[in-house]
Structures are given as structure tokens and as C-alpha cells.
């Protein structure tokens, strides 16, 4: 509908003849752009108000996951290698909602590139956006999908439920687990990132595992793996949420700006056309009057 009326307007601008009908069309189009601007402005304000909350959630979740990250760093944990028959697991974290620029498609692109390189990888899709995009190309790889994500800042309950489902799927049997998520680099940009989660065998075979004094019989590494999985999913979700909100704010900001530009252009066009119509009518009246007189 917009497309067609846009095309009509374009023609009317190009063509020399301006009639009353196009004036009406321009008026309608102007009104609809004004409405769109109102909507995008409101969405931008909503995103801005959510931004601070999302940032806070991101900072606490980062602090939370960095405590664990330190353990893996000092234990020098690496993913197990040399087990070609075992599969990789990819957890792709996005959300259900669009209207936030290319943030979801960039993540799916990163996942797709990874899937091309590792043909034996399975995918768990968190959020509808990445699910629909991956189902188009790699429908046989998507083993599990979650929706209802990203309406609010993520909580530990959500992430532990997701982790639980992944573990029921046999998450511990995958030799390598990678979480793909959007990292908010600054308030204006984001970047798809990957981080690993190590399963219990990888934890126990870490080169510097002996540095730590751990009870061998209390299954610490298994519990640790499960806890870490939930925590890292939470951190990825919090990062992704913050990235998405700021991306949405920027996208809506740009959309409002573009709408403003279009409104300016169309107001000028509208006024000119109106003027032309009035002049035409005046010419008609004057010629009519002079021929009579």
C-alpha cells in the first residue's frame, strides 16, 4: 500500500501535470508518515527508559559470570579435542522481537558461518528470531528452541530452566559447547561474540586443575558445569538484551529522523502542489471572467 502510493507520488513529482487528486494523495501520505513518526518516537522513548535497567542487569550479570571465568582462566580449561565422533553444541541467544536493526540477523549470520565450518554441530535457539532464520537454512540442526525471551531483563530462573532443558537433551555429552550472543561494545555498536562452556570432563582435564584442592568424590565438576551453563546463558541473555535495547533505540532514532526528513519534503511538495492548484483555478476564473466581460 505504501509502496504503491509512494510510486504514484514519485510519478506526480516527475510529471508536469499536477491535479487535485495527487494533492489528496500527498496529504494522505503526509498524514501516514506523521503517524509513523509518532510511533517510532514513542518506541525510541520506551527503549531509552528500558536502557538503564538493561545496562544494570548486564553489569551485574557480567560481574556474576566473571567470578567463574576467573576459575576457568586460572585452571586453563580448554575444550576437549581429538574426539571427532562427539558433537558440538551451539547455543544462539537472541529474542522474540524485531524492529531493532540488523542485530538478530548478524547473530544468525555468525552462527551460520560456524555451522558451515563444523558440519556435526547441533543448535539450540533461544528466541524466535534466530530460530526462524536458522530454520530456513539449517532446519535439521536445530534441536531445541525457546521463545518468550527478552520481554524483560533476563532472570536466573529463565536461564536455569533453559539450562535444564539443554541438560535433558544431553548437554553434557557434547564435547564442545559454544554460546553465541550479541555483545554491546558501546551504546552505538554491538558485535556477535562466542564464548565456551566446559563440560565436566573438560574441567577435570584442565592443565592446571591440580592447582585447586577439590574433593574428587563430591562431583564438584559436574555440578559446576551445570551451574556454569545456567550462569553463562544468563550473562549471554543479559548482554544480548542490553545490545538489543540500545540497537532498538538507535534504529527507532534513525527511523524518526528519516520520517522527519520525509515530512519536510512532503510538506514542501504539498504546499507547492496546493499553490499550483490555486493558481490553475485562478487562471480558469480570470479567463472565464475576461471572456464574459
Amino acid at each position: 500500500m505504501f509502496l504503491r502510493s509512494g510510486a504514484n507520488c514519485a510519478r506526480s513529482v516527475a510529471g508536469p501535470a499536477r491535479t487535485f487528486a495527487t494533492l489528496r494523495e500527498i496529504e494522505m501520505r503526509l498524514k501516514s508518515i506523521k503517524n509513523i513518526e509518532k510511533i517510532t518516537k514513542t518506541m525510541k522513548i520506551v527503549a531509552s527508559t528500558r536502557l538503564s535497567k538493561a545496562e544494570r542487569a548486564k553489569v551485574t550479570a557480567r560481574e556474576y559470570s566473571s567470578a567463574e571465568r576467573q576459575f576457568y582462566d586460572s585452571a586453563e580449561t580448554k575444550p576437549l579435542e581429538g574426539e571427532g565422533q562427539k558433537k558440538d553444541l551451539v547455543i544462539a541467544v537472541t529474542s522474540d522481537k524485531g524492529l531493532c536493526g540488523s542485530i538478530h540477523s548478524q547473530l544468525s549470520k555468525a552462527v551460520r558461518i560456524y555451522l558451515e565450518k563444523t558440519p556435526n554441530a547441533d543448535v539450540v535457539a533461544v528466541g524466535d528470531k534466530v530460530k526462524t532464520q536458522l530454520l530456513r537454512t539449517h532446519s535439521d540442526r536445530v534441536k531445541l528452541a525457546f521463545n518468550g525471551i527478552g520481554k524483560e531483563a533476563p532472570t536466573f530462573e529463565e536461564s536455569s530452566l533453559i539450562a535444564n532443558k539443554i541438560l535433558q537433551l544431553g548437554g553434557g555429552n557434547y564435547s564442545k559447547i559454544s554460546i553465541f550472543y550479541n555483545d554491546p561494545v558501546s551504546s552505538l555498536s554491538f558485535e556477535p561474540r562466542v564464548k565456551p562452556v566446559f563440560n565436566e570432563a573438560a574441567i577435570e582435564q584442565s592443565p592446571s586443575f591440580a592447582k585447586f584442592e577439590i574433593d574428587a568424590d563430591s562431583k564438584v565438576s559436574q555440578d559446576m558445569f551445570e551451574f556454569t551453563l545456567a550462569n553463562q546463558i544468563l550473562a549471554a541473555m543479559a548482554d544480548g538484551y542490553a545490545a538489543e535495547i540500545s540497537a532498538r533505540r538507535n534504529a527507532m532514532d534513525n527511523a524518526s529522523k528519516n520520517a522527519g526528513d520525509m515530512i519536510n519534503k512532503y510538506s514542501i511538495l504539498y504546499n507547492r502542489t496546493r499553490q499550483a492548484v490555486i493558481t490553475n483555478e485562478l487562471v480558469d476564473i480570470i479567463t472565464g471572467a475576461s471572456s464574459l466581460g
Binding site: V59, T60, E63, E68, Q70, F71, S159, E213, D223
Partner: protein, 158 residues
Amino acid sequence: MFRLSGGRALLRSVNTLGRRTYAEAAGDFLKLQFALPHQTLFAGSKVTQVNLPAQSGQVGILANHVPTVEQLSAGVVEVFEGSSSKKFFVSGGFATVQPDSTLSINSVEAFPLDSFSQESVRSLVAEANKNASSSDEKVAAEAAIQLEVLEALQAALK
């Protein structure tokens, strides 16, 4: 270094001993990171001692503790900063001592001990007791976990 294996009575006696060692351990402090999913309680602040409710028994951690990973059960985490101490009740989690004398505690929930009310704990215990004998296996299992946490909480509040 000051690893205490189990036993509250033992812990109490070593507590006083721990206090005496503050003077000699004055130079190097324990760095505490205490993080919850929704809140950061301590972000690398210097403390003198932390007592943890580990699954293998109560553990007191001082500076330069040997690197270790402890799984926490429901109980009280006590943080000593100089002469004052703060008590938090945690539902569980993990505590990791890094080689650089940093203690990281990751817990799902933690609240100051004085923010709990005895009455509501008591009523929750009664409710959990009722559910524990439920025929539904899932409800009973959840109630058993609830009871475990609540009993630890009750013991800590006394």
C-alpha cells in the same frame, strides 16, 4: 591454609584463633567477590575472613588460602571486615579461591540474615511439611528441598 574440616564446635574455637591471626595477616587481605545474578554484594573489596557453609562442612577462609572450589549448601556466609562482620543467608552456590587470594562466591540468592522474620519462616516450614507428604512426586521433592533450606535458616536465626 586455615582449612577447617566440618564441625561447628571446632569452627567456633578456630574463629577466635582466626581473630588473633589478623595482626600478622594485616599485610595481605582476602579479596572478596560476592555476586548474585541480580546484584553484586562485594566487588573485590578487602576482607579479613569469610566463613562458608560448604557441603563438606563449615569452612573459614583467610588470606592466602590454598586454591579450591567449594560447593555451598544452604546456610550462612559470614564476612569479617576488620572487627565487624556481616551475615548473609545463601540458598546455595559455588565459592572459588583463586591463586591470587581472591574469593569468588556465586550464589543464586543471598540476603542479610536480619532481614528474615522468624514467624514467616515458621509458617513456610509448616506449609513445606504438609507438601512433603504429598503423593505427587514432584511436589514432594520440591517440598523436601524447601525444608532443607528452611531448616538451615531456622537454625541460623536461633
